[in-house]
Amino acid sequence: MDLHFGDSKPTDEEREAVDALLGPPGSAWETAFGDAAVRSDADLRWARGGRAARERRDLLLPGLHAVNDRVGWISEGALDYLCRRLTVPPAEAYGVATFYSMFSVKPRPATVLHVCTDVACAAKGSAELCAGVEGRLGPGSGVSVERSPCLGLCERAPAALVVRAGAASGPDAAAGGGSGAAVGGGSGAAVGAGHGSVAEKPYATAVIAPATPEAAVLAASAPEAAEPEPAASLAVPQAGQPGLTLLRRIGVVDPASLDDYRSHGGYTALRRAFELGPAGVIREVTDAGLVGRGGAAFPTGVKWKATASQPDHPHHLVCNADESEPGTFKDRVLMEGDPYSLIEAMTIAGYAVGAHKGYLYLRGEYPRALQLLGNAIEQARARGLLGDDVLGQGYAFDIEIRRGAGAYICGEETALFNSIEGYRGEPRSKPPFPVEKGLFGKPTAENNVETLVNVLPILTMGAEAYAAIGTEKSTGPKLFCVSGSVERPGIYELPFGATLGELLGLAGKPENLRAVLLGGAAGGFVRADEMDIPLTFEGTRAAGTTLGSGVVLAIDDTVPLPRILLRIAEFFRDESCGQCVPCRVGTVRQEEALHRIAERTGAAAAGDIALLREVGRAMRDASICGLGQTAWNAVESAIDRLGAYE
């Protein structure tokens, strides 16, 4: 590998941010080629780095986060320094940095206010929120306002998220901040006052939902002083009710306390797993009939068995917590309300598939989940529930959290691997499947949060009792994310087989319900008179729709449907990775056609609808991954089932 670095230098602040992650550089070659003052005699004889450094390429994304968290954007000097430390070609790192929406390679203010404009928030007035915020925060305000895809706060729409770059808060933060200020003041003219003030202010985030323009602006000016978020249990209207399985601890346990988790039945499932042995765990999960809850509904037992039986080692476990489907927020509520259950479930899954390392890929827009899961992992490690000898059983397992940086596509399982590995989050072609060649080219089992959390009741109640819940083909309890025009939005747990009407009855169905978006942007619409659709995989399939990730977004007749469809098309155009032609260009053509017919119906729209059908069919057939394959579903169902544009 012949690497070429430019002569742009990092500021002291950027260098500190990277060194805090990677440790101090081992050789002058890693710091700045040509900087004779720091070169030692040893540096003149050999350069350390090489393969050892290249094998740390997966630290590229954490490195970009480190710089972005500290400074607010990623300069040429910072990127080149990071590349030097990891021996990553700068062109590739630039390709990665520009892939994610939470990063910027152009100067911007240290404070970024993300305002959600996605389906649920759009229905609750995000347009007015954006206008109000932008009216108050003009240029020069030191805050960059960015329209964001779904922030996963749909039950409290409209939502906003403030991220303020700054020094990591902690004992060593003061020293780092001081030297950063001197450099920032000198070179940061383009960023203006925002840059200089970074050093005095620590990194902070604030979630405001439901947001008013006043509250959002106030939080943007002082995120550390923003009102704390309401407890996660408030997103669970059934919290505390008897009969819950997956949600039974939410609102009951203290999410920060391992002892409290254990006093509420925590870690009994892991003990049972050790009694059963890995093959026994897989047998229980298979017999329970558990299928993946992320949308694809693949049998979990089959996936685990296939991974466990691969001769190639090491095996990996990946928890997909990159929940970015518009309208989905169940994984966030689980992680915020009961974080230890995910840690325990990942340990069991890792044990079953023979993995010693689990990666928890968490979407970048969930600061509270990040903090709570980080705490849970630390506590579990301190108490011997993670580490070299879990529960004294001689099994080594540990979990590392990886933060996403704003890319819906990274929820696709193979794109997620690329993202962790430090490449652009583009999906890989399958076959080979992840169970054979997944993360780092090794056998990998990847499950989403809700799927993993289901393993706990399977082990504590037994496969038979679990399989008795729900229907024959869709077993167990299921979480639904109910949002939009309902009285009590939130996460609901029901056994598979309940009808859509029963679910909406719980949530407070509006009188003037027009349609329900099932499964999120990649799902489909159903009509208000289709309330008897059973909420099972087979039942929704028979009704010509899908359960997807469990989104139930109610839309009443005051919400303009063409605007919602346009928003869905915009979402896919923005989130397409751009790798394959049907998706890269098809999503653009779909949006253009919907713009043309936004105000039209009948014959005036017919030509464009025919065009949409043709493009949509090719996207479904020929796209590489699920994003392109499902990008036309919702619009198609709105045309066919709701008679949009008639």
């Binding site: 012949d2 430019g6 062109a91 990775c577 751009g578 790798q579 049907p582």
Partner: protein, 286 residues
């Protein structure tokens, strides 16, 4: 072309191709089998010297039992597979993909594109006059080659050739996302400020003319480029002892560009800056 290369014998995989029995060595793709059987499947991003990225999706075929179509260029033939290459469904996707491409970029210098557009009755104009196009000015920032984004279909071949598949220089990458994704060097700088070593191997593999020799670019602009009048002579590079093959493209007794035969077992079409661009001394007649 034969689907059975010389070398270590490999097991044969038997499957059905358009209802006919087909036998290809293990590891061969559906496209290899199609070509061996004399079937013409359109391909854009597939190249003979690189692992296909299967990004263009113009070679899709129908595999019995699969939910979606499969790219023939990279899906390996499996025993018992039933493949159909010319179904209505596959033809529909190819047609739409050609329309999507031709409506967003300029395929005028893409070999066979016009022929396929006609064959599949693709109508790129039907997305309307306001359909988004790449529409960017060519970037001319050095004397050796030109980047014309208006012709780029993002096939990733140049990235692969510059990266770990051939050159190991890693000077270019895909940057940005979605329709805004582009091939670029670090920080989107001019080529002269990048890691580029001007081997021209990216130009060699570019299937659309988005990367072209400055000589060709200038002659096309002046209207003097005439491939019909060019002769091609393959010779040995005189610079060093490796012995790379050069194919000199000569028009009006002037070398207008240099390529290299892809079937050369040593270089597979790769050259260095000297072999690719250092030819002026041969025709210095002062």
């Amino acid at each position: 072309m034969t689907a059975i290369p010389l070398g270590v014998p490999r097991r044969l995989v038997e499957f059905t191709l358009d209802g006919q029995e087909a036998r290809v060595p293990e590891g061969a793709t559906i496209l290899d089998a199609c070509r061996a059987a004399g079937k013409d499947i359109p391909t854009l991003c597939q190249g003979d010297t690189l692992t296909p990225k299967n990004a263009c999706r113009v070679c899709v075929v129908e595999v019995e039992g699969a939910r979606t179509l499969a790219p023939a260029c990279s899906r390996k033939a499996e025993a018992g597979m039933e493949v159909r290459t010319d179904t209505e469904r596959a033809r529909h996707s190819r047609k739409v993909v050609l329309e999507l491409l031709a409506s967003s970029v300029n395929l005028s210098t893409t070999p066979r594109a016009a022929e396929w557009i006609k064959e599949y009755e693709a109508k790129p104009d039907r997305f309307g006059p306001d359909a988004a196009r790449v529409d960017e000015e060519p970037r001319v920032d050095n004397d050796l080659y030109v980047r014309d984004y208006d012709k780029c279909i993002l096939c990733y071949k140049c990235v692969d050739a510059c990266g770990d598949q051939w050159q190991n220089t890693f000077a270019i990458s895909v940057v940005g996302r979605g329709f805004d994704a582009r091939i670029a060097v670090e920080h989107d700088a001019p080529l002269t400020d990048s890691a580029c070593v001007y081997c021209g191997n990216c130009v060699e593999v570019c299937p659309t003319g988005a990367l072209s020799f400055k000589s060709e670019f200038d002659m096309r602009a002046a209207g003097t480029w005439n491939e019909a009048e060019q002769t091609e002579t393959t010779t040995v590079c005189a610079y060093c002892g490796v012995g790379c093959n050069l194919t000199l493209h000569v028009q009006d007794n002037e070398i207008v560009k240099v390529t290299s035969p892809h079937d050369n077992p040593v270089t597979h079409g790769n050259l260095c800056i000297k072999g690719r661009f250092g030819y002026q001394h041969v025709q210095n007649r002062d």
